[in-house]
Amino acid sequence: MREAPLRRQGGAVALAPAADTSQARSARRSSPLREFTLQQAPFILAALALGFVTAYLQHGFVPGADRPYPLAGVRVPVWHVIWMGVWTGYTMALVGQAAGILALPYTTSVLQFSNAHVTPSTLLLTFLNPIGALLGFRRTGQWNLHFAGWLCAGGVLGGLIGPFLRARLLADVDVFRLLLGLALAFVSVQLADKALRGFAAGEKAPGSGIGAPRIVTLARERARITIGYRGGQWTLHQGVLFALGATVGVISSSLGLGGAFLIVPFLVVVYKVPMYVVPAATIPYAVALSATGLLTYCLLLPLLGTAPLPPEWAWGFFAAAGGIFGSWVAAKTQLYVPEPLLNAMLGTATAAVAVLYVTNFFFPLPFRV
């Protein structure tokens, strides 16, 4: 999501003698249509193709409006699953969140896919969506494995444990929705805070664009790591990162989320890591956690005597195809969007859903949630 602005900062370092030529080349290279065709369209088409292929392989037909998804038990047109990926990916990327936190309640409440298979199906979305951004961040230097490594290792451990929690303690849909409601409440507080203070909108990367915009490892002493980016530096304890990754991993993989909604506030509040550095850790974390969670749901659960919980593969691929497109549009248009207002709207919506879920657990509501 932050790929485009960072690229522009990197582009500003071009050497003066070749400025005209390089600017012309840069303009051609950065044409949105060209970028979409070369970098995004292949991912989107691959996800769509995999959706149809896996539907045939898993069920022998493509579920949709006429025939229900066998594992989900609901009829939903293919275009609607893709659309869900588009609008959740687009709106949540605009406010610095992942699609899953909105896609999951929409899937369980509006689309009524609320059994345990919804969690691995959404994990497929959280696994595929950030891959384009991950490759982009690697190209632009927003990448530091020393920073992300221990967090990801914790995420892998959490991804091995969380699915067992989902299969047992969270098997009941109301208990699952209670936990999801608490997660949504936490996200709504973050969005409300951003809306009120507008800190994210005003935050800029430090420095004047001089020097390579890379996240570098400045020191590694015992369990501490110091990273630097454009003049700023932050020291983090790798043991804390591992424990954080594992704890968030258990919660997120049991729900079907990428974990950034918990990791980001921790890194920002406890370690004062700025928002523009955090994706270097949270994006690879979401990929590692989701991949491990998916493997656990499909393979590890049956190996250890619990019934497997495979995802609706086609559902996840269709949603991811839309999500990749939505996130890309968000990256290209973010500068023009009134972010505080959007934060306020989405914060209100997530808070309302959170209240419904939590209330419904204690006092069953007279309508379906």
Partner: protein, 31 residues
């Protein structure tokens, strides 16, 4: 702000409104 940029500023709210309409359609047809 040019016309295109104004449209982009409104786009998230248009998308959210469209999402709400599609959700209502789905609920009315498939529930």
């Amino acid at each position: 702000m040019s016309g295109n940029h104004k449209l982009l500023a409104y786009l998230p709210f248009i998308v959210l409104a469209a999402a709400a309409l599609v959700a209502i359609y789905h609920i009315s047809v498939f529930w």
